[in-house]
């Protein structure tokens, strides 16, 4: 018998994606089988979960994520998300998920008007998603944040709903780096299968390149969820 193969998790590469390789590597380190996906694909290659990585897809032209949201592969991602497949958007991926209306609200330019790159403290606000079940509620973690347009905004009613339904899953602590409403760093959809966050868990999986390995729980959470499903 060969080694046990983990769940297939796809990472979409758009023109201008930067962190697709790190995301693929994080999946491998955390027990999954990484599957590279191309934005021009019209299928998801039988993956069981999809990650939209960070970067500047389509050069961030028009608005971040506005053009990527209509890439051929996104038709399949939206269909899969609607049928319950775990979907994670990191940074630019979060922006794409908002533009695709898979997540509510939008991300605008940082209120500080500069690109922010730092090790960011966060509080885990919900472990009831397929991507955060491996954390503990209220856990304090540190992940890399590197974005120029990371300010999360939504109308008051949406914010009330997100807060009320436990859909805020990561919150900035020890200072709000970008003007995000309610210090929101990450949210999920009603079902909890679609998650978006601005910080980069895929950069915090290895002691060689990051101060913490707090990002691992994101990837192990979905692997555990998918392994239990089979």
């Amino acid at each position: 018998m060969g080694p046990k193969v983990g769940p297939k998790i796809g990472v979409v590469t758009f023109p201008g994606s930067l962190d697709d390789q790190d995301a693929l590597r994080a999946i491998r380190l955390c027990g999954g089988e990484p599957i590279p996906l191309w934005h021009g694909n019209d299928n998801l290659d039988h993956v069981q979960a999809v990650i939209l990585p960070g970067g500047f897809s389509y050069g961030d032209y028009l608005r971040c994520g506005a053009i990527s949201r209509f890439a051929p592969v996104m038709t399949e991602v939206i269909k899969a998300a609607d049928s319950g497949m775990p979907v994670l958007g990191i940074c630019n991926g979060f922006q794409i998920l908002c533009e695709a209306h898979l997540l509510p609200g939008a991300l605008i330019r940082n209120d500080v008007r500069v690109f922010v790159c730092r090790d960011q403290d966060l509080r885990v606000e919900s472990v009831d998603t397929t991507w955060t079940s491996g954390f503990s509620n209220g856990q304090l973690i540190t992940l890399v944040l590197k974005s120029g347009e990371g300010g999360y905004v939504a109308d008051e009613e949406t914010l009330r709903r997100l807060e009320g339904e436990g859909q805020v899953i990561f919150r900035y602590v020890n200072g709000n780096p970008n003007g995000s409403y309610n210090d929101i760093a990450g949210i999920c959809n009603e079902r909890g299968n679609v998650v978006g966050l601005m910080p980069h868990p895929e950069h915090n999986v290895d002691s060689l390149t990051g101060p913490t390995q707090d990002g691992r729980a994101i990837f192990t959470s979905v692997c555990t969820f998918l392994a239990a499903k089979v």
């Binding site: 605008i108 940082n110 008007r113 905004v153 939504a154």
Partner: protein, 115 residues
Amino acid sequence: MARVVVDVMPKPEILDPQGKAVTGALARLGFAGISVRQGKRFELELEGEITEDRLAEVRRAAETLLANTVIETFNVRVEEPTTPDEEKQAEPAEQAEPDEQTEPDEQTELATQAG
């Protein structure tokens, strides 16, 4: 060909960091009492005649791609074409304007510089 202009603006309740940066820069340059909100202008060249159906299509395009209605509003308007005759007439008029407004002293100064 007809031109339709789509103006996109951030909603009033949404923070506009770009507009704020421009506002700050203007103040530093001495342009006092000016507050700026920055939007986008799209110029669409449409083939054929502009009908209500075509305009409805442009509004759909604006809503689908040009604007993110979660944070932005948009306005669609038809830009009246200028005929070639009008353009010809307009050109000399525009050139004449600075002369009329320029003070005699400045004209002398310009002539000196040119010399």
